[in-house]
C-alpha cells in the first residue's frame, strides 16, 4: 500500500519521467514497464503509481490525453512535456552526481 521503503524519496518521479521519455503510455502499461525494467529490485505498488502520476501532471512535467488503447478501450495516456524533458535531464544529471559522490565515499578503504 505504501511506497516501498527502498525507493529513495523522489526517485519514483525520476523513473516515471524516464519511462515516459521513451514513449507515451497509460497507467497500467507504466506499471508493467516499471516491473519489467527494474525487476524485483524496485517494488512500486500500483497504489503509489497513480498519485505520483497525478502529481507530475499537476506540476506540468507530464500531460495526459484520453486515447483508445490497444484493446479498443479508452485509456489515459501520459506524455512528457518539453518542460518535463528538461526537468528529467536536470534531475538525471543531479542523480549521477549524487550517486557518484556516494559511491566514492563508500569506496573508501578502512585503515
Amino acid at each position: 500500500m505504501s511506497k516501498p521503503p527502498d525507493l529513495v524519496q523522489g526517485t519514483l518521479d525520476l523513473l516515471l519521467l524516464k519511462i515516459l521519455a521513451l514513449e507515451p503510455l497509460h497507467g497500467w502499461a507504466i506499471s508493467q514497464r516499471l516491473k519489467q525494467v527494474s525487476g524485483d529490485e524496485l517494488q512500486v505498488s500500483d497504489g503509489s503509481l497513480y498519485p505520483a502520476l497525478h502529481k507530475l501532471e499537476l506540476a506540468g512535467w507530464i500531460t495526459a490525453e484520453w486515447k483508445t488503447s490497444e484493446l479498443g478501450r479508452r485509456a489515459k495516456f501520459y506524455f512528457l512535456t518539453r518542460a518535463g524533458r528538461r526537468y528529467l535531464d536536470q534531475e538525471t544529471a543531479h542523480w549521477h552526481r549524487l550517486t557518484t559522490a556516494i559511491s566514492r565515499v563508500l569506496a573508501l578503504k578502512e585503515i
Binding site: G27, S31, D46, L71
Partner: protein
C-alpha cells in the same frame, strides 16, 4: 517557465472541474483493474479471482482514489466544504443537541460581549489624556469625610511645596452668564482652573493656544478657551473665533483657543463650555477658610501614588501646623483618577469576574454536549476509519462540527449583542452626554474564541480516541445499548456537577452584591425627593457685585415665587437638592472649644427644611424674622450636635468662624435630621458629615437654587419660573431644571445599572446551567432508549423507569449544589471582607439559591426522564 503552460490548466481543471476529475480517476482505475484482471486471467486464474486479485494488488481502489485526491490542489478547501456539509447534516439529525449547543454559544458569547461593552467605558477605558495613570486626585480628609475640597491658600502651599507632582492643579465648576448685547443671556458651564491645567492634562488645542500661568496672574487680561462642543453649538465652528471677545458675567474676555472634541470627556467633567483661569486676587490667594477647590496632580515620572500619598500627608501636616486655627486632625489623601469611584470600580470588577464564570459554564456546557455526542458517534467514527477515512480527516470533521456550531451561535450572538448594547446604552446612558457605549470587537472575539476552542478540544479528543478504537470491538457492540465507557461518563458527570456548582456560586455572589448595592441606595437620604422641583441661576456680573444688590434680588425672587399657585412650600438655597454633597464647606470654631470643626456650609431661606422634608429635631428652623441686623443664628445637623455636645442642649450654643479678630458668633437655634449622601467611600462610616445651615437673609449668596414642592406639572412650573426670573432681570438665565426624583436617579444610575447587570448574570448562569443539564441528560437518555424500552417491555413500570433516570440526576444535583453552596459562602466571605458595605455572607441567601438551583436542575433532569418513560417499548424493540 514552460511547465506552467501545462500545470496551470491541469490545476484549474482540478479545482473547477471536480466531477470530471473524479470521473477520470474512476475510469483510469477501472481501466487499470480491467487490464490487470486480463493479465491475471491469462496466468490461469478464474475470472472472479483474477478481478479480486487485481483490486487487491492496486492496494484498494478507494484508498488509491483518496490518495490521488490528496495530490490535488486546494484539497483542504474542498474537504472543508464537504466537512461543513456533513456537519450541517449531522446537526440537523440531532436537533436537541444542536439547539442546546447553539443557545449556549449565543448566551455565553452574546451576553459576555454585551456586558463587557457596557462596563468597559466606565471601568477600563483610560481617560483620554497622556499617561492617565500618573494623574491623581488630592482630597482633604477629616474625621467626618475623606473627600473634602481645598481652599486657595492651602492649594498654593501644596503646589509650591510638594516634591512629588510635576503639576498640581486646582479647579472648580462655575456657571457663567454669557450675554451679548441685545440677545437673551445664556448659561455656560465653565471650569475655572489654575494656569497649569492644560500643562497637566497635556492635550494640544485644536485652534489657537491654551492658557498658562501668565494668564493666571492677578489682574491678567481675561482669556477663555472654548470646548469643541460649545464652539460648534454656539459659533457653528467659526474658524475665526480665536481673538474674538466674549461678554462673560458682564466682563469681556478674549477667546484664545478651542480644544479638540475628545478633550471634553463629559462623563468625567460634566458638560464644559469653556475653561478660564482664576487670575485670583491677592485676597483670594490668602483665603484659607473657603474650601471649594478640587486638586488634581500629575505625578513626577517614577513617583508611585503611594509615595505621593505619604509625601502629601506629611506636607498636609506641616501646612496645618503653621495654621493652628484649623482642625489638626485634617489630612491629605491621594486617590487614583478614575471615572467611577473606587467602590463602584471594585464592585464592577467583581461583576466582571462573574462574567468569566458564566463563560466558564458555557464552555462546560459545550464540552459536555460535545462529549455526549462524540460518545454516541463512536461507532460511526470507527466505521469511517475502517473504510479509509484518514485519522486526520476524522479529527478535522470533529473540529468542523465544533466550528460550525460556534459559527451558527456566533452569527446569532453578534447581531444580538449589537442590539442589546444599543438598548442598554439608550436606557442607561441617554442622559450622560458623550458616553460612547459601543460593542467591543475584542470581547466578542475573545468570548467567541473561548467557545470555539472548548468545542474544538472536547469534540476532537474523544473523536481521536474513537478513531483509534479497534474497529471490531466497536462494531460488536449494539449501537443503541452502547453506553460510554466508565471513564468518559464519570467525566461528564463531573462536568454536570461543576456546572451546577458554578451556577450556584454566581447566584450567591450576585445576590450578595445586589444586596450590598441595595444597602447603599437604601440609606435614608434624610430628605424626600418626591414632588420637589429645582432650578438654578447665578448672580454674577457688574449688577450684583454688592451684597445689597444680591439680597434685593433674592428678596424679589422670593416674593414673586411665593405668588405662584400650587406650591405647598418653596425655598431658595445656595446648593441644589442634596443628591450629592453640598457645594461648600467652612472651618468653624465652637465657643468654649479649642479644636476647629469642618462642616458643610449651606445658606437657606426659611422654608428650606419644610420643602425638602428635613425633620426638625430640636429648637426651631428659620423664620422671616431672621434677617440682617437681627441675632445671627444657625441650624446644625443631628450628628454635629451629638458629637459637639453629647450631654448638653445644643440650643443657645455659639459657633463662629475661624480667622480674623471677630468670630462673628452665631447662635444655634435648631437641630435638624442628618442629610446623607450615597457614600461609596472605602471607609463606610463617614458618610454623614457635619452640616451647618445659615439664614440666606443674613448671609447672601451668589449661586441661587430655587427648590419647590409642588403637585403641579414640572413643565408648567418651569415656564412660570422662567417668566418670573426674566421679569426681574432678563440677562439672567434659569437653568438646571430637574425634579428631585430625577436628580436622585441620576445619582444612583450607575448603581442601578450594576445591580441590573448582576441580576442578569445570575439569571444567565442559571439558564445556561439548566440548558447544559437538559441537553446532556436528554441526549444520554435518548441513548438509553433501547435499554429503557427493554426494561419496560419486561414489565418495569413507568414510574420505575422515571426514577431510574431521575435518580442519577438527583445525586448529581445534590453533589453540585453542595459544592456550589460551599463556594458561594466562601465567595461571599471574600466579597464582604473586601467591601465594607456588603452584607456578611448570609446563609439564607445561599440556602435560597441552593433550593432554587436544585429546583432548576431537577426540572432539567425530569423532562427527558419523563419522555423516556413515555416511550413505546414496541417501537424501541423493533428498532433494535
Amino acid at each position: 517557465m514552460r511547465r506552467w503552460m501545462h500545470a496551470i490548466p491541469a490545476r484549474l481543471k482540478a479545482i473547477f472541474l471536480r466531477r470530471r476529475i473524479e470521473r477520470d480517476l474512476d475510469d483510469e482505475l477501472a481501466f487499470h483493474v480491467a487490464m490487470q484482471t486480463r493479465a491475471n486471467a491469462r496466468e490461469g486464474m478464474a475470472e472472479t479471482e483474477a478481478y479480486r486479485r487485481a483490486r487487491v494488488e492496486i492496494g484498494g481502489v478507494e484508498q488509491v482514489k483518496e490518495r490521488s485526491r490528496d495530490v490535488l490542489p486546494l484539497r483542504w478547501a474542498r474537504d472543508a466544504m464537504q466537512d461543513v456539509r456533513y456537519a450541517l447534516r449531522g446537526l440537523r439529525k440531532t436537533p436537541r443537541f444542536t439547539v442546546a449547543a447553539v443557545l449556549t454559544v449565543v448566551l455565553g458569547v452574546g451576553a459576555n460581549a454585551t456586558i463587557f461593552s457596557v462596563l468597559n467605558p466606565l471601568l477600563f477605558k483610560p481617560l483620554p489624556y497622556p499617561e492617565p495613570e500618573r494623574i491623581v486626585n488630592v482630597f482633604r480628609t477629616s474625621p467626618q469625610s475623606d473627600r473634602w475640597p481645598h481652599s486657595m491658600a492651602n492649594y498654593l502651599d501644596h503646589r509650591a511645596r510638594n516634591t512629588v507632582f510635576e503639576q498640581l492643579v486646582a479647579l472648580t465648576w462655575e456657571n457663567t452668564s454669557f450675554a451679548e448685547p441685545d440677545q437673551p443671556a445664556e448659561r455656560l458651564f465653565e471650569l475655572r482652573t489654575t494656569g497649569n491645567f492644560f500643562a497637566l492634562f497635556g492635550v494640544a488645542p485644536l485652534m489657537g493656544r491654551t492658557f498658562n500661568d501668565a494668564d493666571d496672574q492677578t489682574g491678567a487680561e481675561p482669556v477663555v478657551v472654548l470646548s469643541y462642543g460649545f464652539w460648534q453649538r454656539r459659533f457653528n465652528g467659526d474658524a475665526g473665533i480665536v481673538g474674538r471677545s466674549m461678554r462673560l458675567d458682564g466682563r469681556n474676555a478674549t477667546v484664545v483657543g478651542v480644544m479638540p472634541r475628545d478633550f471634553e470627556y463629559p462623563l468625567f467633567w460634566g458638560t464644559i463650555d469653556l475653561w478660564r483661569p482664576f487670575a485670583a486676587s491677592a485676597t483670594l490667594r490668602q483665603d484659607r477658610g473657603n474650601n471649594y477647590l478640587r486638586e488634581f496632580g500629575r505625578l513626577k515620572p517614577g513617583v508611585t501614588p503611594d509615595q505621593a500619598d505619604a509625601a502629601m500627608k506629611a506636607l498636609g501636616k506641616q501646612v496645618l501646623a503653621e495654621n493652628t486655627l484649623f482642625d489638626q486632625r485634617e489630612g491629605l489623601r491621594i486617590e487614583a483618577l478614575s471615572l467611577v469611584n473606587p467602590v463602584m470600580r471594585r464592585m464592577s470588577a467583581y461583576a466582571f469576574g462573574l462574567t468569566f464564570l458564566v463563560l466558564l459554564i458555557a464552555c462546560v456546557n459545550l464540552a459536555n454536549l460535545q462529549m455526549a455526542r462524540t460518545a454516541a458517534r463512536a461507532r460511526e467514527f470507527a466505521i469511517r476509519g475502517a473504510i479509509g477515512g484518514g485519522k486526520g480527516r476524522l479529527l478535522r470533521q470533529s473540529l468542523t462540527d465544533s466550528l460550525v456550531l460556534s459559527l451558527i451561535g456566533g452569527s446569532i450572538a453578534i447581531p444580538l449583542s449589537f442590539w442589546c448594547t444599543r438598548l442598554i446604552a439608550g436606557q442607561q446612558f441617554a442622559d450622560l452626554p458623550g458616553v460612547r457605549v459601543t460593542l467591543e470587537p475584542v470581547t466578542l472575539v475573545f468570548a467567541f474564541a473561548c467557545a470555539a476552542v472548548t468545542g474544538l478540544i472536547f469534540g476532537a479528543v474523544p473523536a481521536w480516541l474513537a478513531s483509534r478504537a479497534d474497529i471490531n470491538d466497536v462494531l460488536k457492540q449494539n449501537p443503541q445499548s452502547m453506553t460510554a465507557g466508565r471513564g468518559p461518563q464519570r467525566f461528564r458527570q463531573g462536568l454536570i456537577v461543576a456546572e451546577i456548582a458554578f451556577a450556584l456560586i454566581i447566584l450567591a455572589g450576585a445576590v450578595s452584591l445586589v444586596r450590598g448595592l441595595q444597602r447603599i441606595t437604601a440609606v435614608d437620604p434624610g430628605w424626600r425627593a418626591e414632588g420637589v422641583l429645582t432650578a438654578r441661576l447665578g448672580l454674577a456680573g457688574p449688577n450684583y457685585t454688592q451684597l445689597d444688590a444680591r439680597r434685593a434680588f433674592v428678596d424679589t425672587l422670593h416674593d414673586r415665587v411665593g405668588e405662584l399657585s400650587g406650591l405647598s412650600s418653596f425655598a431658595i438655597a445656595s446648593s441644589t437638592v442634596p443628591t450629592s454633597p453640598f457645594g461648600s464647606s467652612t472651618t468653624f470654631r465652637v465657643e468654649g472649644r479649642e479644636d476647629p470643626v469642618l462642616a458643610y456650609n449651606e445658606r437657606v431661606s426659611p422654608q428650606y427644611f419644610d420643602t425638602l422634608r428635613i425633620p426638625l429635631l430640636r429648637g426651631r428652623t428659620f423664620t422671616p424674622d431672621d434677617r440682617a441686623g437681627r441675632t445671627a443664628v444657625m441650624v446644625i445637623n443631628e450628628t454635629m450636635a451629638r458629637v459637639l455636645w453629647p450631654s448638653e442642649d445644643p440650643i443657645g450654643k455659639r459657633i463662629g468662624f475661624r480667622g480674623g479678630q471677630n468670630p462673628n458668633w452665631r447662635e444655634v437655634v435648631g437641630v435638624v435630621g442628618d442629610v446623607t449622601f450615597p457614600s461609596f467611600g472605602a471607609s463606610s462610616s463617614v458618610d454623614t458629615p457635619f452640616e451647618v445651615y445659615q439664614p440666606l437673609a443674613q448671609t447672601g449668596t451668589g449661586a441661587i437654587n430655587i427648590l419647590l414642592r409642588t403637585t403641579r406639572e414640572p413643565e408648567s412650573v418651569a415656564s412660570d419660573l422662567r417668566r418670573i426670573v426674566s421679569a426681574i432681570d432678563r440677562d439672567l438665565p434659569l437653568y438646571g431644571l430637574i425634579t428631585g426624583t430625577a436628580a436622585e436617579q441620576r445619582q444612583t444610575a450607575q448603581l442601578r445599572l450594576l445591580a441590573n447587570v448582576l441580576g442578569g448574570f445570575a439569571l444567565l448562569g442559571l439558564v445556561l446551567a439548566a440548558l447544559g443539564i437538559f441537553g446532556v441528560v436528554s441526549y444520554s437518555t435518548a441513548q438509553r432508549a433501547g435499554e429503557l424500552g427493554m426494561r419496560m417491555a419486561l414489565g418495569a413500570r413507568q414510574s420505575v423507569v422515571l426514577w431510574l433516570v431521575l435518580r442519577q440526576g438527583v445525586g448529581l444535583t445534590m453533589v453540585g449544589a453542595g459544592v456550589g453552596m460551599a463556594g458561594g459562602l466562601a465567595l461571599g466571605r471574600v466579597l464582604s471582607s473586601l467591601m465594607p458595605n456588603l452584607p456578611a455572607p448570609e446563609f439564607s441567601i445561599v440556602l435560597g439559591a441552593f433550593a432554587f438551583m436544585v429546583f432548576v436542575a431537577l426540572a432539567a433532569f425530569s423532562i427527558p426522564a419523563w419522555r423516556a418513560s413515555k416511550t413505546n417499548p414496541m417501537l424501541v424493540l423493533r428498532h433494535e
